[in-house]
């Protein structure tokens, strides 16, 4: 009998091939069409923004791990995804030092302050985006025109909607080109087509469920449709809202972030509805033209509450059983 060194561990002895890395890099892969589209639309500057964001996020992750004396997790993909999402959420002409500040806010202030991956309450990329938006409002809202050669900038369709009303906004944008992505906006949010392809990959790999994105999009669609029907002159049609701004990027890639969304189906539906309604309210009546970032961050804050509601329900069921037996 040959001697083998037996090792004992606990069942099950077969495990899924998925790991944190595979989940994160698949999300990155799903963002690839939007990234490619951003480079196609906004040129090599977009590539530079992507690289700077990813590199500085990974760098800050390494730095924070070292300071906190934790095993290095900078290559587990979560910092990569955060950097990529941040890049896709800013205009392509943003100064590079602002990107580095944004990355620092995302990794240090939004993630490691709460305890690192899995413990953050708010989506790091969105916190960074909102931080940049309120700190450098001018730079964050001067959108380069696609295929521009001389850094020509203009307002985004949502910005036009806010300042010049429905008619001007509808004139500025042909819905089909909005769907393909040739409009002004943040790097990754312009092309609905690329985002939908990426989302399809996430659904196929079962990394996200339908509950959050569909309740979110559905509630935005329904809400804007109702007001469009009441007064078409004051409110833009729902399809306009669907293709403009960061709605699809937010719905499929930010609101569905595993760490900062509720765990139960019921919670996810509430979360999606809340995000959708807040987005619509901010877009229709708020001070900012775009509302999805704020909406998701606000609902992120409610996630512990939604989860604890679910938890208390569970406890109530089992407590009853414990008492009777």
């Amino acid at each position: 009998m040959q001697s083998v060194k037996l090792k004992v561990s606990y069942a099950p002895f077969v495990r899924t091939k998925d790991s944190i890395e595979s989940v994160m890099y698949n999300v990155a892969l799903a963002l690839a069409p939007a990234t490619v589209m951003s480079i196609y639309l906004f040129g090599m500057r977009a590539l530079l923004v992507n690289l700077v964001c990813i590199a500085s996020c990974i760098g800050f992750e390494w730095l924070m791990d070292t300071i906190r004396k934790k095993p290095a997790s900078c290559l587990d993909g979560s910092a990569f995804v955060t950097g990529l999402l941040l890049a896709l959420n800013v205009p392509s002409n943003l100064p590079l030092w602002m990107l580095v500040i944004g990355s620092f806010i995302a990794i240090a202030a939004a993630k490691h302050v709460f305890g690192g991956l899995g413990h953050n309450v708010f989506n790091p990329a969105l916190v960074a985006r909102v931080f940049l938006l309120v700190s450098f409002p001018a730079a964050m809202t001067s959108w380069p025109v696609p295929f521009a050669v001389d850094m020509e900038t203009a307002a985004s369709p949502l910005g036009i909607l806010k300042t010049d009303g429905v008619e001007a906004a509808m004139k500025s944008l042909d819905l089909m080109s909005g769907f393909y992505g040739t409009m002004n906006g943040s790097m990754g949010e312009t092309s609905s087509l690329a985002l939908l392809v990426g989302a399809g990959w996430l659904f196929y790999k079962r990394y996200i469920t339908v509950y959050i994105p569909f309740t979110l999009l559905g509630s935005v669609f329904l809400f804007t449709a109702i007001f469009h029907l009441i007064d078409p002159a004051a409110y833009a049609p729902p399809l306009f809202h669907m293709v403009t701004g960061g709605l699809l990027l937010g719905a499929f890639f930010m609101a569905t972030d595993m760490v900062t969304s509720p765990l139960s189906v019921r919670g996810q539906i509430i979360f999606g509805l809340g995000c959708g309604l807040l987005t619509a309210v901010i877009r229709l009546w708020g001070g900012y033209p775009e509302g999805i970032s704020f909406a998701i961050l606000i609902m992120n804050g409610f996630v512990p509450l939604i989860d604890s509601w679910d938890l208390n329900d569970r406890k109530a069921i089992h407590q009853k059983k414990l008492q009777t037996t």
Partner: protein, 279 residues
């Protein structure tokens, strides 16, 4: 110009703050809970580590119950005789002195002397390991050696050395919090004495099996029983045990013990020795 924006903001926020302050004031008055100053005093004397050794979940609760019942039999094992005296002074009564105890590991099977079976790669916790199998050491009565008790000890008295727990007698307060952390029951409480002899083995296997599994195991050879003049050593389930009340610490048993790593151990308690010398 500035005052136009300033005055309404300051006055409205000030009004809100004033209103809230008043509410807090009334609530704290109305729902004020009268606290017994003796409880506070007693709580201040207690060590405040909430170890649970007294049977109450926290020092605060111990203090409340003590002040209410004035039960002189209630003791804090962690604080010992000093604390009992202080408590008695504060309450104007004589408190019972707790019997000082120590956690003792009945095993010397470190990685050099104990034979191993299979490598364990699950959750590094003794209880978790025993759910997977009988433990990485061949002797199933031994210290598993993953150190769960370290985390359960509030006083930092445990450390892991070469696959075996070592207890720092100076830091151990005898609170017994570590006992449920041990799945094999190799960790026990013993009375604190200036010098103690004990059989540092927990194996209930027959002598031959014990010997096969570990060099430091008690094989129940009876030699120590025969040599003991105080009849302080008994053999139960193939394992010798020293009856602490009868043992006079003469040390004859250690000389005759034939195991390679002497399974009988002498432990001098420095604190207790000093106390004895002082008195």
């Amino acid at each position: 110009m500035i005052s136009d924006a300033f005055i309404p903001a300051v006055s409205s926020l000030g009004a809100v703050a004033l209103a809230l302050g008043l509410i807090i004031h009334f609530v704290s008055k109305k729902f004020h809970v009268e606290e017994d100053p003796t409880v506070k005093l007693v709580n201040g004397i207690l060590p405040g580590v909430n170890c649970g050794a007294c049977g109450f979940p926290s020092c605060g609760q111990f203090a409340e119950v003590l002040v209410e019942t004035r039960n002189s039999a209630m003791t804090c094992p962690v604080g010992g005789a000093d604390l009992a005296a202080k408590l008695g002074e504060a309450l104007g009564m004589t408190m019972a002195e707790p019997k000082p105890q120590l956690a003792v590991l009945l095993c010397q099977g470190n990685n050099d002397v104990a034979r191993q079976t299979a490598e364990y790669l699950g959750i590094q916790d003794c209880w978790a390991a025993t759910q997977a199998f009988a433990g990485p050491k061949q002797c199933r009565y031994s210290c598993i050696g993953l150190g769960s008790c370290i985390a359960w000890c509030d006083f930092g008295a445990m450390r892991l050395e070469n696959g075996l727990i070592v207890i720092d007698n100076d830091l151990c307060t005898g609170c017994a919090a570590c006992i449920p952390a041990c799945p094999t029951g190799v960790l026990v409480m013993q009375d604190k004495k200036a010098s103690r002899y004990f059989i540092a083995c927990n194996s209930r296997d027959r002598g031959a099996a014990t010997k096969k599994a570990c060099d430091a195991g008690c094989t129940a050879c009876q030699k120590c029983v025969k040599v003991c003049e105080d009849n302080a050593i008994v053999i139960e389930e193939f394992l010798a045990r020293i009856v602490q009340d009868k043992c006079t610490a003469c040390g004859k048993c250690i000389e005759v013990c034939p195991t390679k790593v002497n399974c009988i151990r002498l432990e001098n308690d420095l604190k207790a020795v000093k106390q004895k010398q002082a008195s």
